[in-house]
């Protein structure tokens, strides 16, 4: 570039010198022939011709012409933008918001849905799932089948299994915190083809029984917890009181293979018993708990791999029938097959499943907003090109070619697009992180890599170019139509006004769809909040503890939980307290079992009632404010030796004949219990799920706790005080116990609506933006009309028309435009908004309230937007208007 500029300057100087020399020679020649000095110089110039023109023509031969004209156009465009500052600022801002919003959503979409794992050749990865009896694919499978596939397959170059360890008590260097872990089989890192950032990664030899425990840190955790210190290698860290040696750090951009779940530690599967205190079901052919991924050998098709793996899987399952007595297990062995899918984007991810569709929807909505912004700018440019008609006519008359003028006008548009795009990209970069926080409401570091990659950049530039063409091309083509009969004061042709008008009509229609969409999401969120759940939401605090994290297990752990509950009941402000496994709103658990006998009625395995279950402490329903329909709650006398009792939900109670209290209920194959109470229906774990059959077991009848408990406290006073008091109460039982996930039920509920809130808040912001754009568009159009028809109005008033008449004429025209737009928009909305149906809760896409609201909002706005110019029209001084030219 600099060399080019240097050469360019040298050429220029050469040419000047050359011409100078020529003129000097010529002058000398003429003086020698006897002419006076002055005449000679003038004659030499005359003979030479137009010096700047010669320079210009010569420059053309250097071939920088295209660049030079572009540079000229850019400078010209910048000068114009500087002159029309308001217009420029508005257009750039509108574009930046449009492009920025779209790109921010795309960044999320890219990171969550499109981007392959940052590993070697992600295209070769596969993820395995099991599917049987026409059900949905399930990514969890039993271990023996995996082991058989690993040993016998010929089609894969690597295969590994993994299981998540959601919370570990990690202590090192004298401090402890709760970290998340992942346990993997030895081929994990090698199959992914990762290189360590430090030390070494796991190898198959680490996963052999009897090996010393080792752990690998994620890069993020290494930075966060150890400040990126290289001295960490070889140090010991305790995970739930079991010692592990840190051997390495994973590469920087790697966040694990499950989108949205970023493990801080990766340890070999054989180390899990030391961490969890339970033996792994490595021999159980029907316990589904590991997730499997692999890498196909080059040249092997997915189909070939599927056939082979399915063969091995089924062979192992069928061979294991002999070891089981359960009908369900035998059915599993007969029906379940392996399905293989591409694993380039990693394993099945709840985050991806939850957001993929919503993000696609938002992308569409924001695309609409951007289209709206582009149309708006197009309309503004169009009215400006009207004002510049004279300039353009003169330039065309002076011999500029139409293409040249179009090019220049397009350069101006491109300048707007580039400025808006750059600002938008910056907004997107800042905004996507904010959006993600809004979406996941996760505290701390977000386990998603949002750095822009080529896809994001390509997307943003593509969007930029398209919008530039939308708003630039039309006015450029329009503005340069040969205006031979152009004269000042001529009434603009009808066609042009029609074009302006249709631009505003389409803006109105688009805005209506967007605003209505926002309305739908608001209504849906409202419905969710006001949904009757069967429990009281306010003044309820929940917090979890896990004795396993401090190494306490079995009956001691249960005893500890009981003492914590007793302590919690004594804290000031606690009106009542209890314990459960599954919280009223939960994203961690959804427990399912099957009821096989109701009262005296026995059900076959196939006809069994699928129930959700929970484990509760005494006084749970009093704490949540759920009434007992019949019988009683657990009273605190439940223990391992006591008679086995159960509470059922109303839904399940309907399966009994007569009062269920006192009747028998059989869960699974051998768990018979007496029903002691019927609780009113509540929504289990999710606000959206309809009430279902639920079985409640006593938490404290267990020998050893199967799941760590979540305490629930009904408090008076503030949540902060209660949380602090609860922390102190827990510390009185064991100072090593760390409460986690302390949240009010309201907060937990709000977080469970994260996706709905994301959709609603974004569509509200951008709906408002669209609304405003339409107002500006309509105002611009009306003002322009008034300006153009000023003389006409003046004349009419001079001839006796009342000002109100003129005002009405203007308003009528605007009303026509707006109503047409609204009519088209309504029709489009009714069709297009069907796509949001799956994202709505108990709201129809054609919701009349949302539609009315949107129409009223737009009508009110357009009244304001049209009224101001209309009033101006009615105040035109007839004499001034007529004297105008």
């Amino acid at each position: 570039m600099w060399r080019w500029i240097g050469r360019r300057a040298r050429n220029e100087q050469d040419l000047r010198d050359e011409i100078q020399f020529h003129l000097a020679e010529e002058t000398k020649l003429r003086i020698d022939a006897g002419a006076p000095e002055d005449d000679a110089a003038a004659a030499a110039r005359r003979a030479f011709g137009n010096v700047p023109l010669v320079q210009e023509r010569t420059r053309d031969t250097w071939g920088y012409r295209a660049l030079e004209t572009t540079w000229q156009d850019v400078r010209h465009g910048l000068r114009l933008l500087a002159r029309y500052r308001l217009f420029a600022a508005f257009s750039i801002l509108a574009l930046a918001l449009g492009i920025g919003g779209t790109t921010a959503i795309f960044t999320l979409y890219n990171a969550i849905v499109l981007r392959p794992l940052p590993v070697h050749d992600p295209g070769g990865l596969i993820t395995l799932a099991i599917q049987g009896g026409g059900g949905r694919a399930n990514s969890f499978m039993p271990y023996p089948q995996f082991e058989a596939m690993r040993a016998k397959n010929q089609t894969l170059s690597g295969i590994f299994a993994r299981t998540a360890l959601p919370s570990l008590n990690a202590s090192a260097q004298g401090a402890s915190d709760i970290a998340s872990g992942l346990a993997v089989t030895g081929d994990y890192h090698a199959t992914l083809g990762l290189q360590p950032a430090l030390g070494r990664l796991l190898s198959p030899s680490d996963d052999r029984p009897g090996q010393a425990n080792v752990a690998v840190l994620s890069h993020a955790y290494w930075q966060r917890r150890f400040g990126g210190s290289p001295g960490i290698i070889g140090q010991t860290i305790s995970l739930n009181r079991a010692l592990f040696t840190i051997v390495g750090v994973e590469p920087k951009r790697f966040f694990g293979v499950t989108m949205g779940v970023a493990p801080d530690f990766t340890i070999p599967l054989q180390g899990v018993p030391d961490v969890s205190g339970n033996r792994l079901p490595l021999q159980a052919a029907f316990a589904t708990w590991i997730e499997v991924m692999g890498r196909v050998r080059p040249g092997v098709s997915l189909a070939a791999a599927t056939t082979e793996l399915d063969g091995i899987f089924r062979q192992t399952s069928l061979a294991a029938i002999a070891t089981t007595t359960s009908d369900g297990d035998a059915k599993f062995a007969r029906d379940v097959h392996i399905v293989v899918a591409s694993g380039a984007q990693g394993g099945v991810s709840g985050l991806r499943n939850g957001y993929e569709e919503g993000l696609r929807l938002l992308l569409m909505i924001l695309g609409g907003v951007l289209a709206l912004a582009s149309l708006n700018i197009a309309a503004l440019l169009l009215s400006r090109s009207e004002a510049r008609k004279q300039e353009i006519a003169i330039r065309l008359a002076l011999g500029a070619s139409r293409t040249r003028v179009i090019r220049q006008l397009l350069t101006e548009s491109a300048l707007l697009a580039v400025c808006g795009g750059a600002l938008g990209l910056w907004l997107a970069w800042r905004g996507s992180e904010m959006l993600l926080r809004l979406a996941t409401s996760a505290p701390g570091a977000l386990p998603i890599d949002l750095t822009p990659d080529f896809r994001t950049i390509a997307f943003a530039s593509g969007v930029c170019i398209i919008s530039c063409l939308v708003f630039g091309l039309l006015p450029a083509l329009r503005g340069t139509v040969i205006v031979g009969n152009f004269s000042r004061g001529a009434v603009s042709p009808r066609g042009r006004r029609l074009l302006d008008r249709s631009l505003v009509v389409s803006q109105t229609a688009l805005a209506l769809v967007i605003v209505m969409c926002a309305g739908l999401f608001i209504r849906s969120l409202q419905k969710l909040w006001t949904q009757e759940t069967g429990y009281e939401r306010s003044h309820v605090l929940m917090l979890s503890i896990d004795a396993g994290l401090t190494g306490t297990r079995g009956p001691q752990a249960l005893e500890m939980y009981r003492r914590v509950l007793d302590e919690l009941r004594t804290i000031p402000g606690a009106r009542s307290a209890s314990v459960s496994t599954v919280r009223p709103v939960s994203n961690s658990y959804y427990l399912i079992d099957v009821v096989t006998q109701v009262g005296d009625r026995r059900l076959t395995q196939e006809a069994g009632i699928r129930v959700a279950y929970n484990q509760l402490g005494p006084g749970y329903f009093a704490t949540t404010g759920t009434p007992m329909v019949a019988g009683r709650e657990f009273d605190g006398r439940e223990s391992a030796g006591a008679p086995k009792v159960v509470i059922v939900s109303e839904q399940l109670a309907r399966q009994f004949t007569g009062n269920p209290v006192g009747q028998r209920l059989m869960i699974g194959t051998n768990d018979a219990r007496e029903v002691v109470g019927v609780a009113a229906d509540t929504r289990y774990a999710r606000v959206k799920d309809a009430p279902r059959a639920v079985v409640y077991f006593p938490y404290f009848e267990q020998q050893a706790p199967r799941f760590p408990p979540s305490y629930i406290i009904k408090y008076s006073g503030t949540a902060e005080e209660t949380l602090r008091a609860a922390g102190e109460a827990i510390a009185r039982v064991d100072p090593a116990l760390v409460p986690f996930n302390g949240k009010t039920l309201e907060t937990q509920t709000r977080e469970s609506f994260a996706r709905e809130r994301l959709l609603a808040s974004l569509t509200i912001y951008f709906g408002a933006f669209a609304w405003l754009l339409v107002g500006i568009g309509l105002y611009g159009l009306t003002a322009c009309t008034v300006a153009q028809r000023g003389r006409e109005f003046g004349l009419r008033m001079a001839l006796g028309a009342a000002p109100s008449h003129v005002r009405w004429a203007v308003l009528r025209e605007s009303a026509g435009t707006v109503l047409t737009g609204l009519a088209i928009g309504s029709a489009v909305a009714l069709m297009a908004l069907q796509v949001v149906r799956t994202q709505l809760y108990q709201v129809d896409p054609a919701d009349p309230a949302a539609m009315t609201g949107a129409i009223v909002a737009l009508l009110a706005l357009s009244c304001c937007a049209a009224f101001i110019p209309a009033r101006r029209a009615s105040r035109i001084d007839p004499m001034a208007a007529l004297r105008q030219d």
Partner: protein, 115 residues
């Protein structure tokens, strides 16, 4: 490009003719722009009066086509001037142009004065 006869009758110089004449002028040896113009004028007995300026775009075009090369030298009068000379490609081009021109003249002459 326009050339003027003595009586100011405008005749459009045929496309490429000026280029050809420049190459011809340089066949005698390196020359600067003014010298080339002077040679064309004197050789044509002042009948061809090329607008002096129009030489330069042509010269730069030929430079770009690498038919001629340029070099700053000092003249006999101790002045800096840009001297052009033919390149081998330019020499070849001149020969080709010369024979094409001869053909053209002969053919046009035959058409204009049929025997």
């Amino acid at each position: 490009m326009v050339m003027r006869g003595r009586d100011d009758n405008r005749i459009d110089l045929l496309q490429g003719t000026l280029d050809m004449m420049i190459l011809r002028a340089l066949a005698w040896g390196p020359q600067h722009g003014h010298g080339i113009g002077l040679w064309i004028r004197t050789t044509s007995d002042e009948l061809l009066q090329v607008e002096h300026g129009s030489l330069y775009p042509a010269l730069h075009r030929l430079l770009r086509q690498r038919l001629i090369a340029a070099e700053w030298k000092v003249t006999e009068n101790k002045q800096r001037a840009k001297y052009y000379r033919l390149t081998p490609a330019g020499k070849k081009q001149l020969t080709a142009a010369q024979s094409r021109w001869d053909q053209l003249v002969a053919v046009v002459a035959r058409v204009m004065r049929p025997a």
